[in-house]
Amino acid sequence: MRQRVFDGYVDYIQIMDENGNIDSSLYPKDLGDVDIVNMYRNMSFARALDAKSLSLQRQGRAVTYAPLVGEEATQIGSAMALRKGDLFMPNFRQHGVFLSRGMPLDLFFLYWRGFEEGNIIPEEVGGFPVCVPVGSQMPHAAGVAFAQKYTKSGKVVIGYVGDGGTSEGDFYESINFAGVFKLPLICLIENNQWAISIPRSMQSAAQTLAQKGFAAGINVIQVDGNDVIAVYKAVKDAILNIENGPTLIECMTYRMSMHTTSDDPSKYRSDDEVAKWKAKDPIERVRKYLISKSLWNDNLEAQMRDAQSKAIDSAVEKAESFKPNPNSIFDNVYSYMPTALKEELDEAVANNFYQ
């Protein structure tokens, strides 16, 4: 006997194309003109923030930085689909998510200046600290989702992971865990096509990364990750459907810039490929749409840029005026100060080790 025991498929959705044309059959009903303008503002803000961070790093005023340029729609669309109180677990490139969720920008800059104080994330942001080891944040996301289910908080958790991260055991283990317990988890793969120098094609032989969700028995979908409306819809639908278990969303986007400021993409990828993706820019298409509907003009653009640039400059100023307290590295190791650690601190202070 031979019979088919599993039959899966992955849908791909795009709602706004590269020219700003809308597929009205898929357009989310809850999304008004004001919302699209807000998405546009947030995406532009994220790009401005990114450019500023890059320039600070180049001037030696920030540590190694991971640019987000090109991935604004994936980050802003998903963050804006979350409800008040919903939670997110970032990797290390989700600056746009932090921004949309109201992260004070001076804290963002403080983190990228190399201070733990930048991770003192206000409760209302609903985010957890930047997580550097690729994929290792996903089991935490599953655990946070477990806690929401356990406490019946009604909150949904979104965990961000990159295309490279889907190769890690932690990724499989966490979506499997979430599937077994039907956790309120959305696993969002920010597929920017490159894990440093490794292209998506060398990361996995799977045709889509979304289909990895089949192995965990969870819902899957692939979206145009440069289409902020499609990303928004996918996340919104996953939230509405959360009673039926977790969803894995693969967002097809592109890392327009380097992996981090330590990386040189010219060693491993062609300018042609970058140019091809530049034509699919996530912000440009929204601007075209807004202008076509007379919701945007040069004057509004100029006002927005001016306001954003002022907000960024004042946040940088605040972050740069931060004075580190060396004792804080001792004060935050345990819930109490063990005698042995206190002795180390006293010795360091008494001997003026770090003048």
Binding site: G114, V132, S197, P324, S328, I329, A340, N351, F353, Y354
Partner: protein, 321 residues
């Protein structure tokens, strides 16, 4: 050739790959990109993509698959991009690389090398500055090596490729390009399990390794001290004889490493000196390392790792006792 540590390691890998057709290099971004620190630069174009292998982003698979290759007669040389990411493959190292020989009474062996950059002082993001040598040394069956200069780096790596055991090869990021040295073009070995007496003196012994070696040398030079500087080079198995000989000669010992002091390699060295030479000591042994807390973000790292002041005060303490 006149080269820095990156060049020396690249040259050693080139020699190993040329001399052993069963050797492969595998890891993340080691092919076209040449590794994030360029240690494997140009090796893929020379040896081909089937021998210099860009892997998916999965440390446990890189290390576990290397074990599988090793028990099948190959010589895998894995690169883990940063030591802080190597914990993803820790299970494979401790449960399998370390135990395969023992569990099969040497029927199955794991000749492999895992290279990874270690230690800080270079303002990196979290998890890029760890000094994890003790985690791999506290289990028998694994060799742990850490060079502090281009000459040793090349010779130790070539020597590691001839061992029939798993070797964890720790490369201090800060020293990758800090200075150049004249080293032989040809293949040569630096023995594993043998410390190096970097400088000789008679007033005190400074036992150290890794990032701290150049710093200790500069302090000794600046203060015109007559000191033995012992660079242990191999952390496990430790060259106890060289350490004890120096301790007995000078009677005063300072141990310096970048990893945290408590439960560190210095504790082991100190214990061996105490066990073997305590009656010849003129002063209590002093250890200098980092504080007992996680490696902080770059804004605070200068308050964490040993610096000139801290090492110098330790030297004063031992000399004045």
């Amino acid at each position: 050739m006149n080269t820095n540590m990156v060049g020396a390691l690249n040259n050693a890998l080139d020699i190993i790959m040329s001399n052993n057709s069963n050797a492969v290099i595998l890891g993340e971004d080691i092919g076209k990109d040449g590794g994030v620190f360029r240690v494997t630069d140009n090796l893929q174009s020379k040896f081909g993509a089937n021998r210099v292998i860009d892997t998916p982003l999965a440390e446990s698979a890189i290390i576990g698959a290397s074990i599988g290759m090793a028990i099948s007669g190959m010589l895998p040389i894995a690169e883990i991009q940063f030591a802080g990411f190597m914990y993803m493959g820790y299970d494979q190292i401790i449960n399998h690389a370390a135990r395969y020989r023992s569990r099969s009474r040497s029927k199955f062996t794991v000749p492999m090398i895992i290279r990874t950059p270690v230690s800080g002082g270079v303002r990196t993001l979290e998890h890029h500055s760890d000094s994890p040598e003790i985690y791999y040394s506290h289990v028998g069956g694994i060799i742990v090596v850490e060079p502090s200069n281009p000459y040793d780096a090349k010779g130790l790596l070539i020597r590691a490729s001839k061992m029939k055991d798993p070797v964890i090869f720790l490369e201090p990021t800060k020293l990758y390009r800090l200075f150049k040295q004249e080293i032989p073009d040809d293949s040569y070995d630096v023995p594993i399990g043998k410390a190096s007496l970097v400088e000789e003196g008679d007033k005190l012994s400074i036992i150290t390794f890794g990032t701290m070696v150049p710093l200790v040398k500069s302090i000794v030079a600046k203060r015109h001290l007559s000191a033995d500087i012992v660079d242990i080079r191999t952390i496990n198995p430790l060259d106890t004889a060289t350490i004890i000989e120096s301790a007995k000669k000078t009677g005063r010992v300072v141990i310096v490493h970048e990893a945290q002091t408590s439960f560190g390699v210095g504790a082991e060295i100190s214990a061996r000196i105490a066990e073997n030479a305590i009656f010849e000591l003129q002063a209590p042994i002093v250890r200098v390392g980092s504080h007992s807390l996680p490696y902080p973000f770059p804004g605070y790292e200068n308050y964490y790792i040993p610096n000139e002041i801290k090492i110098s005060k330790a030297i004063d303490k031992v000399l004045s006792a």
